[in-house]
């Protein structure tokens, strides 16, 4: 066990919110086809309000702080917020599209001791990347900003989302990251929009792409290890939790709404009306999320993948129940191991049209 995972366990036991993701704005200069956000400003927190929230987060024990959006640099006070956060000794990670980062911004992020900058790049080809972001010239500007950040010695991650519209460019995008000398992450998850609109889910890649993805050692490391059948489900797994959402992590929107995670749109309170600690420790919704163990999950508790699945309670919530399955994770578990999930077997059985109740004659 690493020291960091020991600290995670300790934070979990103490109920400390070790990590907070805060979106400082939903405004953006790109209009990515897969984005789940609504970009109009509906009353963002002011500089003073965000600083006040940061004070409260430091007081509550938050160590890892992610600034994201929208595009963070759409706020003129963004670097002031980063400076304030660093004075409070947060470990700061910034997610951005980078198109507004030039040498001066890169230098300042470096001076402030930002731990990592993550930039979204969807293809190595401008015609594909710019078509996804709907901002002409955006690939060049993002790549330029990566070079500025790298030249300052910052740790940079290139983050790609695999979709139907860029699936054939995955290798090229990964090669671009290598050429730039930065880390690379790939996520095949496309989530419904915040207003519940699921039309963008058509951008999700199909089964064949997932199979290819999980068989690529460049992405998953040891393929045999990554794709091995799940370990038998035991009591430790059943007594455990799905993920850190609401346990050691949460999300705050630009309007002050607090959620268990950026992918878990269950409102738990608002920092404009309540203290963060009151929401974190006393919100009934947070308490409910925190109470759910694997054994309480309606379908997943009986699934062979229960101990190794990436089940997202937020996606499950959007699908209908925070205790239910997250179908896209069922698909991933299946394509990783070749073993169908309990949810998939249940759906197949229902689709086969078998009787809901089987009545057998009594044997006498």
């Amino acid at each position: 066990m690493t020291l960091l995972s020991e600290m995670n366990d300790k934070a979990m036991a103490l109920g400390v919110p070790l990590s907070v993701h805060i979106d400082v704005t939903y405004r953006c200069n790109e209009r990515c086809v897969h984005c789940y956000l609504e970009h109009d400003d509906k009353g963002e927190m002011t500089t003073a309000e965000i600083k006040n929230v940061l004070d409260q987060l430091a007081e509550a024990g938050v160590f890892f702080l992610v600034f994201s959006g929208g595009e963070v640099f759409m706020r003129r006070d963004f670097l002031e917020l980063v400076e304030y956060a660093r004075k409070l000794l947060f470990n700061v990670k910034v997610k951005t599209n980078g198109v507004m980062i030039h040498e001066a911004e890169a230098k300042r992020l470096r001076e402030l001791g930002v731990e990592q900058v993550q930039l979204s790049v969807y293809s190595h080809r401008p015609e594909i990347h710019d078509a996804i972001t709907k901002l002409p010239g955006s690939l060049k500007r993002t790549v330029d900003s990566i070079r500025f950040l790298k030249s300052q010695g910052l740790k940079v991650t290139l983050s790609n989302v695999l979709m139907t519209v860029n699936r054939t460019d995955e290798k090229g995008t990964h090669a671009l990251a290598k050429e730039l000398g930065v880390s690379y992450t790939l996520d095949p998850t496309v989530t419904p929009k915040m207003d519940g609109d699921t039309s963008i889910l058509k951008l999700r890649v199909d089964d064949e792409n997932l199979d290819t993805l999980f068989a690529d050692p460049d992405l998953v490391g040891n393929v045999e290890e990554f794709c091995k059948p799940p370990a038998p489900v035991d009591d430790d797994i059943l007594e455990g939790y799905s993920c850190s959402a609401g346990h050691t992590a949460c999300y705050i929107s630009p309007y002050g709404d607090v959620f268990p995670c950026v992918q878990f749109p269950l409102p738990t309170g608002n920092v404009r009306q309540q203290k963060f600690a009151d929401i974190w420790y006393r919100s009934p919704q947070m308490k409910e999320v925190r109470s759910i163990r694997v054994k309480d999950l309606t379908v997943c508790s009986s699934c062979t993948h229960a101990g190794s699945c990436t089940r997202c309670p937020g996606l499950a919530y959007m699908e209908g129940s925070m205790r239910g399955p997250s179908s896209s994770d069922c698909e991933k578990s299946f394509h990783r191991t070749g073993i169908p999930s309990a949810n998939m077997l249940r759906k197949a059985s229902m689709a086969a049209g078998g009787p809901l109740v089987q009545i057998l004659p009594m044997m006498v």
Binding site: M7, L14, V16, A58, L89, V114, E115
Partner: protein
């Protein structure tokens, strides 16, 4: 012939680290090399007292020896080792002169 007086050591917390208390331990992550540390109670006291202008010997004498009832010789030796380790990771700045309060500075070599 009189002995040369020992040079004082001054320590200041680096501005390039992230730090937070968790259950009585100080978590620290270096932005220089992303090394993650936890400090025990005694080390946390020294780290918190590292204001750049109080000599290390005084911090150890007034905070460590008195609060934790540790023998002065042992406490000074352990503190010197601890300061040496943290300074190698850029977490503590060490000087034989008082260290002025610094503005945020670049974290390691570009």
């Amino acid at each position: 012939m009189s002995a040369e007086p020992m040079a004082e050591t001054y320590i200041a917390r680096s501005t390039t680290i992230a730090a937070r208390m968790l259950g009585g331990e100080m978590m620290i992550m270096s932005a220089v090399d992303s090394t993650f540390f936890t400090l025990n109670e005694v080390a946390t006291v020294i780290w918190q007292a590292a204001d750049g202008h109080t000599p290390l010997s005084e911090i150890v004498e007034r905070r460590v020896c008195e609060e934790f009832e540790i023998a002065p010789d042992m406490a000074q030796r352990d503190a010197a080792d601890f300061v040496n380790q943290l300074s190698q990771h850029g977490i503590l700045l060490v000087s034989d002169q008082p260290i002025p309060e610094s503005k945020p500075v670049a974290a390691g070599k570009p």
